[in-house]
């Protein structure tokens, strides 16, 4: 975790310039607030691949605006923070480029109007975050974390792609506005459950839902500006965004509700509990992120369309939670980074009393923790009230209520754990060394902390401008959902009070609780992280095992597999497709023809079984000669001549080479089983071939091509030997290729043989033998 040593280096100009981009975008997006809160939306489109209805198309509605403002607004502070934080670090240029690209692709997700564009932006956030998390690329942990994040979110992304394609098929378009306009139609489609499962896989992995949560805490390996950004406004929020975006079309069904509520509840409680056991500041924060995401998922799962008004408050609550969480989490992360920056540690136990040294940072932490704990007058309080009131009103809200109550209490405890020792604890050694942070580092936490209070005090306008328009994109706009700091003494407030009480209780007994939790968690044999390792290891091991079997390096096994496949598939086809036609059992043939056939077969078998090289060579020659006799018998003297000549050359070459190779007596005989197996393969191939050939020749030959050649040879080709005319006229291109092959092979043989020192003489002989038919020159017999 070594931070850059050269603090004296100036901040490069482009780091400053990079701040301008999110700032400008933020300002530009702010200009949409009035019209969007009035229920309108904006749309831009550039055609990309019209044949597939894929366009670079973007739109701004309430939901995308809320997220886009968070991305750019917090982005501005992050870029500012990063400029100072990364000063003097290596590769700042690359880092800035990646961070900018990451922000833009994140904006791409929330602004996309086209499913495929959305997916592309989605994957781009994966790749850019991979590059960012792996910033400390020479550190093995960083590399592993980056890779893990990419693999987990990438796997989800691929599932999501399939889901999107199916969704596009079902809806007939990739345009989100068109899909959203047709609310509820998809639930009736027979592919609905597939689409749902696949899209949820994408969202859950991205938003680190249980059991895919493990990559997020590991992603802490990134430099603090990146983790602050990743955890607050971006990346993990992409999954929540996607769920919110898809809720109108995919939501409202039992499957949707059951999955989201279950997964969200488990994630919330599980991560809140784990957070208590961690000592590393960033780890604690990471688990609270997972917890908040779980809560968002949970609330998006609560039905939004069954009962009017009240119920869709769940959507508003979820959107509010997104806002609250983004504000406090970014603040806390930046503060944690600043503390580490000046003390060199993130261990909570070593940071007691740091608040006495770093005042602005501490102010930011206090404000953020207030919002986190849901204390008035922060927006966090308003948000939690909204959660409670909507959960208690929802038809199946009991699970949600219990989960949210437990999680809120635990998160309150975490807020106390964070704020307490840091601010009021005994001054530790490390904390005493701390120097005040530069303004770029504290302004982020301070501004965001303050924003939490301001938004809380002005709850009405905040909801009116940001939260409610966003919720309106998710479900029906809540009619009588009036957020304010003071609801009166209702059940929500009572629940809030109970939450604080429980939080204080747990904080008081936190050591005991942590002990119980760690010991009970250690009962679970498999954590997500170790499961990931097991899967990765399993893939590697099975890849190795399978490849070692298939690509064994044993040449004969390759050949055997090829021939066995041929025999199998050919025989199967012949039988299945009923293609076997055997003309007659005993063929009509003269005695001489029988003899010829028998001679060839016997010679072929001799080549197999003989242990004498000379006999083998001779038998090869006999096969060739007998074949040329067949050609001669049936009207092909040219072929016969060529065959005879070539056969002579073959025998000569084989003889020359074979006598230089080890005798057959040294060859390794395979055992009986192997020979039997090979014989089976060989027989199968031979039999299948014969059957096919027999079937083919039962049909009378079609001679239309030959008839044309016969007619045209004299007038067109000016030749009387039809075979020759075919070779040099009708199929001259083949002959050209054939000569090329001959020439290439000749030159390659020369290259193979001549380029050796020891056997130079023999090589020239073989080359000469190949090049001309006069291979039997006197030199050979001398050797």
């Amino acid at each position: 975790m070594a931070e850059p040593a050269t603090r004296s280096a100036p901040v490069p100009l482009y780091s400053w310039a990079a701040v301008g981009l999110p700032l400008g975008l933020f300002a530009w997006l702010c200009s949409f607030v009035p019209e969007v809160s009035a229920g309108e939306s904006r749309h831009w489109e550039v055609q990309w691949l019209p044949q597939h209805d894929i366009a670079l198309s973007f739109f701004v509605d309430g939901l995308s605006l809320l997220f886009a403002l968070l991305i750019t607004g917090i982005g501005t502070l992050i870029f500012l923070y990063a400029a100072e934080y990364m000063r003097g670090a290596p590769h700042i240029g690359r880092f800035t480029v990646f961070l900018t690209a990451f922000m833009l692709s994140m904006l791409g997700i929330v602004l996309s109007e086209d499913l495929i564009t959305l997916f592309i932006a989605w994957e781009l956030t994966g790749v850019t975050s991979f590059l960012l998390i792996g910033y400390r690329h020479e550190d093995a942990t960083s590399r592993r974390s980056a890779w893990q994040a990419l693999m987990v979110t990438g796997a989800g992304g691929l599932a999501m792609l399939a889901g999107f394609v199916l969704l596009g098929e079902a809806a007939g378009t990739y345009s989100l506005r068109e899909i959203l306009a047709d609310r509820g139609a998809l639930a009736a489609d027979h592919r609905y459950h597939w689409i749902l499962a696949l899209v949820l896989a994408g969202a859950f992995t991205k938003s680190a839902q249980f059991p895919f949560h493990f990559w997020l805490p590991n992603a802490m390996a990134a430099p603090t500006p990146v983790s602050a950004y990743l955890h607050s406004a971006t990346m993990v929020k992409a999954g929540v965004f996607l769920l919110a975006r898809m809720a109108p079309v995919l939501g409202g069904t039992e499957a949707w509700t059951a999955t989201l509520v279950t997964v969200g509840a488990i994630t919330t409680v599980h991560s809140a509990v784990v957070a208590l056991t961690r000592r590393d500041l960033k780890q604690v924060l990471a688990y609270t992120t997972v917890m908040a995401l779980g809560a968002c998922v949970l609330f998006l799962g609560v039905p939004t369309q069954t009962i009017e008004g009240d119920v869709s408050a769940a959507a508003a609550a979820a959107m509010c939670l997104v806002l609250v969480h983004a504000l406090y989490k970014a603040a806390l992360f930046m503060a944690a980074g600043a503390i580490e920056h000046s003390t060199g540690t993130r261990d909570l136990r070593l940071l007691g009393g740091i608040g006495k040294r770093m005042r602005w940072i501490s102010a930011g932490i206090v404000l953020a923790c207030l919002s986190m704990a849901g204390l008035p007058p922060t927006i966090g309080f308003v948000g939690k009230e909204a959660l409670y009131s909507s959960a208690s009103a929802a038809p199946s809200g009991t699970v949600a209520l219990v989960a949210i109550f437990l999680a809120s209490a635990l998160i309150g405890t975490v807020a106390l754990v964070l704020a307490g020792p840091l601010l009021w604890g005994r001054l530790t050694e490390a904390a005493a060394r701390a120097k005040p942070a530069p303004w770029q580092l504290w302004c982020g936490p301070a501004i965001l902390g303050a924003a939490g209070i301001v938004a809380g005090l002005a709850a009405g306008p905040t909801f009116g401008a940001l939260v409610l328009p966003a919720a309106a994109s998710v479900g029906e706009l809540p009619e009588h959902f009036v957020p304010s700091l003071w609801h009166g003494l209702g059940p929500a407030l009572l629940l809030s009070m109970a939450t604080w009480g429980l939080a204080a209780l747990v904080f008081w007994k936190r050591r005991a609780v942590a002990r119980v939790v760690s010991s009970s968690l250690s009962i679970i044999p498999l954590t997500g992280d170790s499961a990931y390792d097991k899967v990765m290891h399993g893939i590697a091991a099975s890849a190795l095992g399978l490849t070692a079997v298939l690509q064994s390096g044993v040449h004969r096994r390759y050949v055997a597999t090829v021939f066995a496949s041929l025999a199998l598939v050919l025989a199967t086809t012949l039988v299945v497709r009923d293609a076997i036609h055997v003309p007659e059992l005993v063929p009509e043939a003269s005695f001489f023809e029988w003899m010829l056939g028998g001679l060839i077969a016997a010679s072929a078998l001799t080549v197999i079984f003989t242990r004498s090289r000379l006999l083998a060579i001779g038998s090869i020659g006999v096969v060739g000669t007998a074949a040329s006799l067949i050609f001669l018998l049936f009207g092909a003297p040219d072929v016969a001549m060529a065959q005879l000549m070539v056969e002579t050359l073959v025998v000569v070459i084989v003889a020359i080479v074979l006598l230089r190779l080890p005798s057959f007596h040294y060859e390794i005989r395979q055992n009986r089983f192997r020979r039997f197996r090979d014989a089976v393969v060989a027989t199968a191939v031979g039999a299948a071939t014969s059957l096919v050939v027999l079937a083919v020749i039962t049909d009378p030959p079609q001679r239309s091509l030959t008839e044309y050649f016969e007619r045209t040879a004299v007038p067109g080709g000016h030749g009387r030997n039809i075979v020759n005319v075919i070779l040099v006229e009708f199929r001259a291109l083949d002959t050209l290729g054939e000569i090329t092959v001959l020439f290439l092979a000749g030159s390659a043989v020369c290259a193979l043989i001549q380029r050796r020192s020891r056997y130079r003489r023999l090589g020239s002989l073989v080359a000469a033998g190949k090049a001309s038919a006069t291979a039997t020159d006197p030199e050979l017999s001398q050797r």
């Binding site: 890849a543 490849t547 390759y558 096919v692 006229e729 290729g737 020439f743 290439l744």
Partner: protein
């Protein structure tokens, strides 16, 4: 006679044969090779634009009418393949100027590269089955000569396996031609399309089709016939590996696509189901092989196998979108895969290793190389908006549309493993610090470095272009896919007038008098 169809074949072939015959000085060999490759690119471009403008081009060699003479045909698929071959040839020749410096090897490799490209173009343009066979053989011998250039132990070993299995493939191909000729009495592929429909014993046609699946399957390196590829592709010079990786297996894929859209379309339910299984298993076994290796070129070799599976999947689904996807995949794959081999070579030259165990420090020391690796590697892994994403999207969309959910799932899972394997290289090779045991290589001089990196930059830009400006490439693939699903267009372009036999009196070539 239309020189446009002939010249992409003859030009490199003549250059190569002359180069072999004359064996001039090294510099001369390189210059001639470069000039010829540039000219080849121009010719291929002209052919592609002619096809784009006027549709399928067919040319009867020697003026003998089809189906009697040999026809060269360029539809959109062929023209695109010829174009990409020309690009590959030029890139490889430039790269070889740095990669291959030994005198004896220069004289061997440059001419054979030309011959190989000529034969590959011949295979892409052949309208006659036996002619296709001849080009396969030219290709085989040229590639063997390239494979053994240098004659190191592992090259010879790889060459034995490559030669043995390729030989089985070409022999089966020849046998298949014989069987098909026996059934139909013709060799012209357009004519085969017509005549196969008249064969009474349809089961026999299917059996012959199966022989072709095996023959071309070996060439295309599909499961379970791919063994020669991972055994040999990592052994020769990098330039050679790269052009092999780009082109050779794709000729097999092309031949499968051609025959199984033009000739063997009568029993699609059977033959294409076999292809579907082959595709799924090829994808899976290939990517697992890649995941099991550390050597960059071995990893990449197995990835070739895996991606051949995607292409075969496109063919097996046999819908317009699927065939389009297959064509798009082929084009994308050739560019990306050859480039990755180039990069593996560049890593060895500039960083000192191409094995993950010894590789490192690229990100810190050679940021440009890291970036150049990033583009094709992440494209191969299917990240948007690079070319691989579109290729994957089309194939997966096609399989989902065809209701083949299981295969789509396999394709996606393989996509994940591909991602795993490519990012593994990034994580363990590019990011990791240079291991101390890895020696620092000699500095490569500037002009040579340009020859080394120039093709890589160009191909990476091409990958980016296909990804970002996908529409024209899609349009080309769409036309190719359309022609493949409507073979009548092809048949009519070759045979004229809907494929009826031309009366002999008319068929007498007008130029017969010239002789």
């Amino acid at each position: 006679m239309n020189a446009l169809l002939m010249s992409p074949v003859i030009l490199p072939l003549a250059t190569g044969v002359l180069g072999l015959a004359l064996r001039p000085y090294r510099r001369g060999q390189q210059v001639v090779s470069l000039l010829a490759a540039a000219a080849h690119l121009a010719v291929a471009g002209a052919l592609l634009s002619a096809v784009w403008r006027d549709g399928i081009q067919a040319d009867q060699m020697g003026g003998w009418p089809a189906p009697y003479g040999i026809t060269l045909v360029a539809d959109h698929l062929s023209a695109a393949m010829v174009m990409i071959t020309a690009i590959m040839l030029l890139a490889t020749v430039i790269y070889a100027c740095c990669d291959v410096v030994e005198d004896s090897l220069v004289k061997d490799i440059h001419p054979h590269l030309q011959v190989l490209a000529g034969a590959v173009c011949g295979a892409f343009l052949a309208g006659d089955l036996f002619n296709l066979y001849v080009w396969f053989e030219v290709m085989l011998v040229a590639s063997l000569a390239l494979l053994i250039a240098g004659a190191r132990k592992e090259q010879l070993d790889g060459a034995v396996k490559y030669a043995a299995l390729s030989l089985v493939a070409t022999t089966l191909f020849l046998a298949g031609i014989g069987l098909l000729y026996g059934l139909t009495g013709t060799l012209n592929m357009a004519d085969l399309h017509v005549r196969v429909q008249d064969v009474e014993n349809t089961g026999l046609v299917t059996a012959v089709a199966v022989v072709f699946i095996v023959a071309f399957g070996i060439k295309a390196a599909v499961f379970p016939l791919f063994f020669w590829l991972p055994a040999s592709y990592h052994t020769p010079k990098v330039a050679v590996s790269a052009i092999f990786a780009g082109l050779l297996t794709k000729v097999g894929v092309y031949a499968l696509i051609r025959l199984f859209t033009l000739v063997f379309t009568l029993d699609v339910g059977y033959t294409h189901t076999i292809l579907l299984w082959i595709a799924a298993l090829t994808m899976l076994t290939g990517v697992l092989g890649a995941a099991s290796h550390n050597d960059l070129r071995r990893i990449l070799s197995f990835h070739i196998v895996s991606q051949i599976g995607y292409m075969i999947l496109g063919l097996a689904l046999y819908t317009p979108l699927a065939l389009l996807g297959a064509v798009f995949y082929v084009v994308h794959h050739i560019i990306v895969k050859a480039n990755l081999f180039f990069i593996a070579g560049a890593l060895r030259r500039l960083v000192g290793a191409d094995d993950l165990r010894h590789l490192g420090g690229v990100y810190r020391e050679r940021p440009l190389l890291a970036l150049l690796f990033f583009v094709p590697a992440f494209s191969l892994a299917g990240f948007p908006p690079l070319s691989g994403f579109w290729a994957k999207l089309f194939v997966i969309k096609a399989s989902l549309q065809a209701g083949q959910h299981l295969v789509a799932g396999v394709a996606l899972f393989v996509g994940l493993l591909t991602m795993y394997s490519m990012t593994k290289i990034w994580v363990n090779g590019v990011w990791k610090a240079r291991p101390e045991s890895t020696p620092v290589p000699d500095e490569v001089r500037r002009p040579l470095r340009a020859a080394l990196l120039g093709p890589i930059v160009a191909l990476a830009c091409l990958t980016l272009t296909i990804g970002l400006v996908v529409e024209p490439f899609y349009a080309l693939a769409e036309r190719a896919g359309h022609e493949l699903t409507n073979p009548d267009v092809y048949v009519e372009a070759v045979l004229g007038r809907g494929g009826e036999d031309v009366p002999v009196a008319e068929a007498l070539p007008a130029q017969a008098g010239l002789q």
